[in-house]
């Protein structure tokens, strides 16, 4: 309390402002409520955007790290050759290169059967993890079964399945892949590459260590393979992530724009409150001026009032917004702590700043009006 007293002694405008606001608590409270709603709207809509983005990014997983190289059908190239793969291997400095052959085949176990995509891969370990069993570095024998197919056929590691009449021991059931993937294993079976007919490859997946490495690899592959003719098309999932990020940027700006409208409304209500209270206090302000208080001090006093309303609304709004963010993230992402990240902090600071700014701005006109009234006029009854 003495710290506050000290502050009030040093900044008399604050003392006067504080007393004036406590004069009509309901009115001040309602003005603060307006700011609270505005700040809450901006901050929580901003954080809502962050949550959506985080959720979407989680859905997308690591796909930004993968690129897919496929033959350019428009140029009449139907498959990638061994030479192409070698060139890709040379172009990629940082990541695993997984050539893929694929076919649709009948897969069965006992009396259950299904037609699924069968991928031939030499090194599926670079792309997939096992749910049960083990994914070998080099797949020479046996099969890996995607989680969906495994459920359908009711297989687990150690069982045997038959793929177009050929029998495989199941080495692993693959972990279900969330989100988008270039070569989704969920409803597929993966067998050694020699077992799928053909000499070339339908696509080559490059799994890099980072999005940036993926991008560099893509550039290098285009340079190496497409120099003379457009042999391959290179698909970077990163372009999707970039697009998604851009989309969420726009969405966020839009949400914050909506929130700002409520703050503008709050600003108008503060303008109204301040105008009313300065009109009511006309005589008092006249007395202040008569006993030697300068115009500037009157302006400071009224701006301090508006500022206090803004700060009170901003702080309460920010606290409520954090609460809303925690609830939202707990609900949507199952991770309440996701609220506490830099982007959200920015939104809160932004919202509080807007709140205080709007209040002070709304106080300008009433302050100017009160300060410019001649004390003689104000003192006349």
């Amino acid at each position: 309390m003495s710290v506050l007293d000290d502050l009030f002694r040093r900044v008399p405008a604050l003392l006067m402002a504080r007393r004036n606001l406590s004069r009509n608590r309901i009115r001040s409270g309602l003005a603060v409520l307006g700011i609270i709603i505005g700040v809450l709207a901006i901050a929580s809509l901003g954080m809502f955007g962050t949550t959506l983005r985080t959720g979407a990014t989680q859905q997308l997983g690591d796909i930004g790290n993968e690129i897919s190289v496929s033959p350019n059908f428009q140029e009449g190239i139907e498959e990638l050759t061994e030479r192409d793969v070698d060139e890709i291997r040379r172009a990629v400095t940082d990541g695993a290169v997984v050539p893929v052959r694929s076919e649709s085949k009948l897969v069965s176990r006992g009396d259950r059967q299904t037609v699924t995509t069968v991928y031939g891969m030499e090194n599926p370990g670079a792309l997939y993890e096992a749910e049960q069993g083990r994914v070998p570095d080099r797949l020479r024998q046996g099969a890996l079964v995607g989680s969906g197919t495994a459920g359908l056929l009711d297989v687990e590691p150690g069982n045997t399945i038959s793929v177009d009449g050929r029998t495989y021991r199941v080495a692993a059931v693959l972990a279900e892949q969330q989100g988008i993937s270039l070569v989704s294993p969920n409803n597929a079976v993966i067998v050694p590459i020699e077992d799928v007919n053909g000499t070339g490859y339908s696509q080559v997946v490059v799994s890099a260590d980072s999005g940036q490495a993926a991008n560099e690899s893509a550039v290098a592959i285009r340079e190496a393979l497409n120099e003379r003719e457009e042999r391959v098309s290179v698909f970077e999932l990163q372009s999707i992530t970039a697009g998604i990020n851009e989309f969420f940027g726009i969405l966020n700006a839009f949400l914050i724009g909506i929130g700002s409208i409520s703050l503008v409304v709050a600003g108008v209500s503060i303008l109204n409150v301040m105008l009313m209270s300065t009109i009511e206090r006309r005589q008092e302000i006249g007395v202040l001026r008569a006993v030697g208080v300068q115009r500037g001090d009157v302006i400071r006093m009224i701006l301090a009032e508006a500022g206090l309303l803004g700060v009170a609304g901003g702080v309460i709004g920010a606290i409520l917004a954090v609460g809303a963010g925690v609830a939202l993230n707990a609900f949507v992402l199952n991770d309440p702590l996701a609220t506490f990240q830099a982007a959200n902090l920015l939104y809160i600071v932004l919202a509080v700043g807007f709140g205080v700014g709007t209040s002070v701005l709304s106080g300008l006109y009433p302050a100017w009006k009160a300060a410019n009234e001649r004390p003689v006029e104000a003192l006349r009854k």
């Binding site: 006067m16 007393r19 004069r23 008092e284 202040l288 006993v291 030697g292 003689v376 003192l379 009854k381």
Partner: protein
């Protein structure tokens, strides 16, 4: 020539849309330190207008205002405010205390905006002097009319003014309370050498005044 305040040939006209009201007509007036001047006259005769001009709240249409020998007729708002703070204490008929501030804070109020470390002590001392040493933390609505006027007097004295201007200071007080306020004025002008100029309808004020000036229809009689 040691007038603390002086009006020379002051005119004040109000232009009220076509009709011009002459509130002060060629007024010459002065007051000396320690002098108690009563200004009397019928309603609408220009008493408050004259007090406002004396108090640098209003500027005359014509003529000059001198404060402590200095011409202060055409000062800027800022300079007028500075001079008001330095030279002049105001006392109003309806007290005009700030309802949200305590008695002590009301007395300190003219010093609030500005660095004045001894203000609180002076304010306490002044309230003791006007007999309100026990009421420092009371709000105006917890004080009687006479007590409010005493707080207002203490407030008027906080910056050690040379002139006290009072517009019907006893107008809202009963006879007895009015008398005690007038006694206080008398004490102040004797002890502090302050010029007291009071507008009044109160006949008992005549007993205290050194001099009574009569205004009728904007002219000094």
């Amino acid at each position: 020539m040691n007038h603390i305040i002086e009006l020379q040939r002051v005119w004040k006209r109000y232009d009220t849309g076509g009709e011009v009201v002459e509130a002060l007509k060629d007024v010459d007036f002065h007051a000396d330190p320690g002098e108690f001047v009563a200004v009397m006259g019928p309603s609408g005769s220009g008493k408050s207008t004259m007090l406002n001009v004396l108090g640098l709240l209003d500027t005359p249409t014509e003529g000059t205002v001198s404060l402590d020998g200095q011409d202060v007729t055409d000062l800027s708002d800022r300079e007028m405010t500075v001079h008001r703070k330095r030279f002049i204490g105001f006392i109003f008929q309806s007290f005009h205390l700030i309802p949200t501030l305590s008695a002590l804070e009301n007395v300190e109020m003219p010093t609030l905006f500005g660095d004045d470390p001894t203000a609180r002590d002076r304010a306490t001392h002044l309230l003791e002097r006007v007999g309100l040493g026990e009421r420092l933390d009371h709000r105006p609505d917890q004080l009687s009319g006479g007590q409010k006027q005493r707080v207002a007097i203490a407030r008027a004295l906080i910056n050690e003014p040379r002139i006290l201007l009072a517009d019907e200071p006893t107008g809202n007080l009963d006879r007895k309370t009015g008398r005690s306020v007038l006694d206080l004025f008398d004490e102040i002008r004797r002890e502090d050498d302050v010029a007291v100029i009071a507008v009044t309808h109160d006949p008992q004020l005549g007993d205290y005044a050194d001099r009574t000036v009569e205004l009728i229809d904007g002219r000094i009689q």
